[in-house]
Symmetry: C2
Subunit: 218 residues, 2 copies
């Protein structure tokens, strides 16, 4: 009995969320804004990735929504660098959802075509379950997390439209089995492009930026 009620509530939350996500996606598509949902565990370098991608964008203007449970450390950092950044604090909630993004975009100005990067809560589980109106799900993994992550957290890898392997500068110092990692990725997701990057050396971001700019927000 209890389980039925829980399932009902969960289904209602998901269908409400998807409805609002569709509305967000359509609204931003009409404005020529590509929406990228940036996902990954805590500390994989989500904000560092954004900072490294932005200088390589040739046409698109970057916009950012920062999702954090608490704190605005990354927003202050990005605003100091001159980027349009809007902070969402969830105060406990483990993922962003479409209603939060819907509220945020109505408080932001999109003055030209560009890419809206939405940095989700650091969490390799829950964000993968919720659409937030994105065109692209970008998953960031790292060589320091270990090569078994696609096997242990399959949904995030299955749903990703692009995967970055960050912190490649640390490869000489950690045990990261790239073949095992890629075998796990391919078991979930046959065609997803995978880019090796390093926030420390800047390696790989030019290619990521070019891939993003080749996408269409329609």
């Amino acid at each position: 009995m209890h389980d039925v009620i829980r399932l009902d509530v969960k289904e209602n939350i998901h269908s409400e969320n998807d409805h609002i996500a569709d509305h967000v996606r359509q609204h931003l598509s009409e404005d020529g804004i590509l929406v990228v949902n940036v996902m990954g565990a805590p500390g994989v370098g989500k904000t560092t990735t954004l900072k490294n991608i932005f200088p390589h964008l040739r046409k698109a203007k970057p916009y950012v929504i920062e999702g954090d449970i608490e704190s605005d450390i990354d927003t202050v950092d990005l605003q100091n660098m001159g980027f349009d950044t809007y902070q969402i604090n969830t105060f406990g909630a483990c993922h962003l959802d479409a209603p939060l993004i819907h509220d945020a975009i109505h408080k932001m100005d999109f003055d030209k075509e560009g890419i809206l990067f939405i940095e989700n809560i650091g969490n390799l589980v829950c964000p993968a379950e919720f659409s937030i109106g994105e065109h692209i799900k970008m998953l960031i993994s790292t060589v320091t997390e270990g090569s078994d992550k696609p096997y242990k957290y399959p949904l995030a890898f299955e749903k990703a439209d692009i995967i970055l392997i960050n912190k490649c500068d640390l490869l000489p110092y950690v045990d990261f089995d790239e073949d095992f990692f890629m075998k796990g990725v391919r078991a979930q997701n046959k065609d997803v492009p995978v880019f090796k990057v390093s926030g420390k050396t800047g390696e790989g971001y030019r290619e990521v930026a070019a891939w993003l700019e080749s996408r269409n927000p329609d």
Copy 2:
């Protein structure tokens, strides 16, 4: 209206869970088993930590419950090393809960006094909200995750009874500001003991094992 129903369900889930958690804790206390809830983000080295603590336990026999969304990679690994390990797969759920542990302990044999290490789902958010019958919450953080984690994920740091900073062998290669990290820890948790460890060099685990063996499951 919807929000009230959701809140109700959430409160019911928490109070049911806490009730079963108390039962689990009492049951294992009577058997002389200390229960340690091992929490941390994906890839912080939870299983590696267990492997490094076990050889330093002088009196207590280690028992393990491995929590994973999918896969039994770590359980097979620990069983091959001769440790009593029981696998829980949540198939999507982002944290362990007390009913799952209640079922598991009734399928395990505790043949002498010891320590039951329960490796929670890799997630720095949700596990901190749910008691699973533990006496001790052990939080594992790493120098590769960055020093801002206590500010961004305060609940896990607030609730921790012991904190390990893992991967200290990588300190020369990453930007980890230990003073900033510790300031964030102390803002949430005045007295929690913090141990620097390395799964690669074995540094620090003797002290962690001694601290655990000084605790009482009463």
